[in-house]
């Protein structure tokens, strides 16, 4: 499975995703420039955290017009795995690959800490190595992570089991229904504010994020055929 990590101007968790996949999971991974127009040959794509285009206007709002985005959308429409964390999640919602939007945190402040999460749906490409309703802890680090969607959309998300992660203790940003991560209806596009790539080595304090990448590598393209 060959994975692309997209580098937008202002991405800064690209190295984190890359090394989680390359150094820790021994995966076949390559950086791809935002200027690329094709993702041919890649089986999955990851959008890293950071401040693409300085987060000017709205987080992710300008990145969605990057040259590479049509290729990302094409790959998503082919049912291949697309993963976005933090700024990557914001870009996925701005690009319409995931419903809803991410507002400024209720506190109006950036927040960096490790928070408890519930794995709500362990039956996605990205979560099969977790137990259902398992509690894990992952770092968050964002200023605009308050998930918003209208009631109807939220109800649909719940009904379709699209809510994958929920904040399990204090809600750190004001996200509606404590939503921390969602998949699209088809189940191949995951966006989440927490950073699993920051929790893959014991030396750095936690390995709770490792199984997300292992799930994806194990499930690969198999499940996407469904």
């Amino acid at each position: 499975m060959k994975i692309a990590v997209i580098q937008f101007p202002g991405s800064n968790c690209d190295i984190d995703l890359y090394s989680a996949l390359h150094d820790v999971c021994n995966a076949d991974v390559e950086y791809v420039s935002h200027k690329a127009t094709s993702l041919d040959g890649f089986d999955a794509v990851m959008l890293p955290g950071g401040f693409s285009y300085g987060d000017y206007l709205r987080a992710g709002a300008i990145a969605r017009f990057a040259n590479v985005m049509p290729a990302v959308i094409k790959l998503a429409n082919e049912g291949k795995p697309v993963f976005g964390t933090c700024n990557g999640f914001q870009i996925l919602t701005e690009a319409g690959l995931l419903p809803g939007a991410l507002k400024k945190n209720d506190s109006q402040k950036f927040v960096c800490e490790t928070v408890p999460l519930e794995v709500v749906n362990n039956n996605t490409l990205f979560t099969t190595q977790y137990q259902a309703h398992e509690r894990i802890a992952l770092p968050i680090a964002h200023g605009e992570g308050s998930y918003y969607a209208d009631e109807k959309t939220l109800d649909e998300l719940e009904a379709n089991h699209q809510v994958v992660f929920r904040y399990a203790s204090e809600n750190p940003n004001g996200s509606l229904r404590n939503i921390a991560g969602i998949v699209n209806k088809r189940g191949n596009v995951l966006g989440m504010m927490p950073h699993p790539e920051r929790a893959v080595e014991a030396l750095l304090g936690s390995t709770d994020g490792l199984r997300l990448f292992k799930s994806l590598l194990e499930n690969g393209t198999v499940k996407t055929e469904a």
Binding site: L57, R58, A61, I62, F65, T93, E94, P99, G100, A101, K103, K104, D106, S107, Q108, Y148, A149, D150, G174
Partner: protein
């Protein structure tokens, strides 16, 4: 050349904690008579073309880039037409 100002705000239904805290601050200054407040941003665009073309451009720019319809809404006004 026409100068157009586009205002972008959260939709009414979307909770805006920033507006809440600014309103609180205003009340702390003693201005209880201020009952509500909206926070938003505006963009001044200098656009070429006739009125219809300008409006078209403005709508397209607002709806494709400046506004996220999941949470935001917008309006615009012509400030100056030369």
């Amino acid at each position: 050349m026409t100068t157009v100002r586009i205002y972008v705000t959260y939709k009414q239904s979307v909770f805006d904690p920033q507006a809440e805290s600014v309103l609180n601050a205003i009340h702390q200054l003693g201005h209880e008579e201020v009952k509500d407040l909206t926070v938003g941003k505006f963009f001044d665009l200098q656009v070429e073309g006739d009125q219809a073309a300008v409006e078209n451009t403005v709508k397209e720019v607002a709806e494709s880039l400046l506004v996220n319809f999941n949470i935001e809404t917008y309006k615009f006004e012509v400030l100056e037409a030369k």
